[in-house]
């Protein structure tokens, strides 16, 4: 057991701290993703290697070798300083790694630099009304007509579609092939004629998602990633990135600290909520679980550094992390009691209503990105080796 990062890494940590202290005035404070402050900050972060660190210089990145501990130190320092880590979004976190793995040289040249600099915003066109957990049954069709794909169908749960310049989209190009082998991965502009975006208001009241209707959308033939019919493999590489990126223990820990503060400030009949044993015990139970997941994360980190597969420790993170976060937010609401019902414009709102919003938002994350039930299938089949459910047709 060696928990030290080593002198070389601690020196790097000191550099990150110096950078943050010297430049934190320039960091954006909650402006939109296209604000000049956000774009300038992103550029500065890339120049210093704190964003797009491992993206090759040829594509506009910093060009460093991947180093798990370096990434972790950057994340830790920006989180503890509460300074923006730069731009996120599905283009940066999902499309860019995919293009680096399977994109053509032309595609890398065209898309990576503007994407990581925040000049090209992407949305993800995967789920459909009839293809959720069973994503591979998607039906949005693309038919080749001369030098163009003609796309028809409907996508749903499309975050940031209303802000995006481009979409990376799964479409069925081989209708006669088995369902996993008939899918292709297309890239196209969101201002192409035939695209209609309708906001989808979720239970929090926000329109975080959209429905995207595609009618005779014409896409140049070469805007396909990977070969025809290989879209499923491309998509799976991305889904792995998405699942691995959920459940950051730093975020969970700072939220737990906020919960402790809330319970120390809220009172019932003049007594602080934290002084009531029933509430305090729930808090301690949650703290124990947050701790266990934090140590589990250290184990995963260590496995990555030493190039071992963390196995089950990794597979349980999405399931455990989202469920725990939802319960943590719920305790925040319960600590407020009736005040925890406050929503929207209400003079008694605490912490800008973040407990109520997160309580619902994290229910969304329990469902999104592979539902808890899909996670359990993965854990039991790939982690524990239990047999797959027989196909419905085979048992009929």
């Amino acid at each position: 057991m060696d928990l030290s990062y080593g002198a070389e890494y601690e020196a790097f940590r000191a550099q990150v701290r110096d950078f943050i202290e010297a430049h934190r005035d320039q960091a954006p404070k909650g402006e939109g993703m296209r604000s000049p402050e956000a774009l300038n900050w992103q550029k500065l972060l890339i120049e210093h290697g704190y964003a797009a660190r491992t993206i090759p210089k040829a594509y506009g990145g910093f060009g460093a070798q991947p180093d798990v501990l370096i990434s972790r130190i950057i994340a830790e320092e920006f989180a503890s300083a509460q300074v923006s880590r730069g731009l996120g979004g599905q283009g940066i976190s999902m499309l860019v790694p995919t293009l680096l793995e399977v994109g053509s040289e032309e595609q890398r040249q065209a898309f990576i630099r503007p994407t990581i600099h925040g000049e090209m915003i992407w949305c993800q066109g995967y789920s459909e009304p009839g293809a959720g957990s069973d994503l591979a049954s998607l039906r949005t069709a693309a038919v080749l007509d001369g030098d163009e794909w003609v796309v028809n169908g409907q996508k749903i749960w499309t975050s940031t579609a209303h802000l995006a310049d481009w979409i990376f989209c799964l479409v069925r190009t081989e209708p006669d092939a088995p369902k996993h082998q008939g899918i292709s991965f297309l890239l196209f502009r969101m201002d192409t004629p035939g695209i209609e975006i309708r906001p989808l208001v979720d239970m929090t009241g926000a329109a975080n998602f959209n429905e995207v209707f595609l009618t005779d959308v014409r896409v140049p033939k070469q805007q396909i990633v990977g070969a025809r019919g290989e879209g499923w493999q491309v998509a799976n590489a991305i889904l792995r990135h998405e699942r691995d990126s959920l459940g950051d223990p730093n975020v969970m820990l700072s939220r737990l600290n906020a919960l402790i503060k809330l319970m120390q400030s809220e009172t019932i009949d003049g007594r602080r909520v934290i002084d009531l044993p029933a509430y305090r015990d729930r808090l301690m139970r949650i703290q124990g679980r947050v701790m266990a997941l934090g140590f589990n994360d250290m184990r995963i980190l260590s496995a990555r550094i030493n190039q071992r597969d963390a196995g089950l420790a990794r597979m349980v993170v999405k399931l455990q992390g989202t469920e725990l976060r939802h319960e943590l937010e719920q305790l925040g609401i319960d600590a407020m009691g009736e005040l925890g019902l406050a929503y929207g414009e209400n003079p008694h709102l605490r912490d800008h209503g973040s407990w109520q919003i997160h309580y619902m938002y994290y229910l969304g994350l329990i469902i999104g990105g592979g539902t808890s039930q899909i996670q359990k299938n993965i854990i039991s089949e790939r982690g524990l080796g239990l047999p797959r459910e027989p196909k419905a047709a085979a048992t009929a």
């Binding site: 060696d2 928990l3 305090r280 139970r285 980190l301 854990i379 524990l384």
Partner: protein, 353 residues
């Protein structure tokens, strides 16, 4: 950075698991549980493997290893539901004697497996109405219930003011107390002006010994729960109903997945909490409390769910699964039930008055 077990530790774990699997299987556990054989014979064999000497300093004939190594042993013992006086004689005893100082001779005999020390801490943690221990003038009076590792040569006793004493078995009245867990032995100790060696009146020493004991119980639960999960998964692959292995039904496989999802992070937690006992003193108490309480909760869930996966067979004596079920139940209550330990965790952070 390397968060996990070293090669030597993995080797030790494999050696111990192989020994217990080969020599102390379920049939032998049954013999000991029904008192056809004494747990002392197992302890003598474990002492030959060095298990009794893990935490004894090298100067006194021990191996001088870390609490993490002891947690590995505890996990193995839990995995095989092994009856042994490990907690008192290999963890709480040597920890207390090392902190007290001047106990080299006893430490040497502990390391050799020649001395067995039980632990009576219950009254200092949460005294029930019919028990309590007080000390005055080198003598103990009162009653301790559910002293751990009953049948020992001496007992490590914590009194109401959290001082640590050592009392020879010949200087007290005692009788065994039957519990649900036949892989453990507990007893009632009655002190009537019993002469006692005061090991320490420093509450920090009491706390350190208690923290170590709690982490080892958490490690024991980790091993026991992992075994129950492994048995449930194996059974779900093999048992067929409706012409299918029951493990192909989502209702069953999701029970297994939920067990794995809750249990797997516990492994890292036990590693860290035991490592902290020796190496991260400022975090040791809090992580020990949380490891004890969290493993109690997860262990209880796994014990129940793994039994259910086995259906009616899980409920039988025949299968033997109940030994692990009861052992996990024992670990939950011993040295502080989860509610009490979480309250200590809150106090350790000044979150409770």
């Amino acid at each position: 950075m390397d968060f996990g077990l070293s090669e030597e530790q993995t080797l030790f774990q494999d050696t111990l698991n192989n020994f217990l699997g080969d020599q102390v299987g379920l049939e032998r556990v049954r013999r000991i549980a029904s008192e056809e054989e004494s747990a002392n014979t197992v302890w003598a064999e474990l002492a030959e493997l060095g298990v009794s000497a893990l935490l004894v300093p090298e100067d006194h004939g021990g191996v001088g290893l870390e609490p993490l190594d002891a947690a590995i042993a505890a996990e193995c013992l839990g995995h095989h539901a092994t009856p042994s006086p490990f907690l008192g004689s290999a963890v709480m005893g040597p920890t207390a004697l090392s902190l007290a100082g001047g106990q080299g001779e006893r430490l040497g005999r502990l390391a050799a497996g020649e001395l067995r020390i039980g632990a009576a801490f219950g009254e200092a943690i949460a005294a029930r109405a019919e028990a309590g221990v007080s000390a005055a003038g080198g003598r103990l009076n009162g009653r301790a219930l559910y002293a751990l590792d009953y049948g020992a040569d001496e007992y490590l006793v914590a009194d109401a003011s959290r001082s640590l004493h050592l009392v020879a078995t010949g200087d007290l009245e005692h009788r065994p107390l039957a519990t649900v867990d036949k892989t453990r032995s507990t007893g009632e100790l009655v002190f009537k002006n019993s002469p006692a060696i005061l090991l320490s009146d420093d509450p920090a020493h009491f706390q350190a010994v208690l923290d170590a004991g709690r982490v080892m119980l958490a490690a024991d639960t980790l091993g026991a729960a992992q075994n129950m999960l492994d048995q449930a998964v194996a059974y779900a692959k093999e048992r067929e109903q409706f012409n299918r292995p029951i493990g192909s039904f989502q209702a069953v496989k999701h029970m297994c997945a939920e067990m794995a999802a809750q249990l797997e992070p516990c492994r890292a937690m036990v590693w860290y909490a035991s490592h902290a006992l020796g190496e991260v003193p400022e975090e040791a108490h809090l992580t020990a409390c949380h490891a004890k309480a969290h493993l109690a909760e997860v262990g209880t869930f796994v014990a129940r769910t793994a039994t259910e996966v086995h259906g009616g067979m899980g409920f039988t004596e025949l299968l033997g699964l109940h030994y692990w079920f009861k052992r996990i139940g024992f670990n939950r209550q011993a040295l502080g039930a989860p509610e009490l330990v979480r309250e200590e965790a809150a106090r350790a952070q000044q979150l409770a008055l």
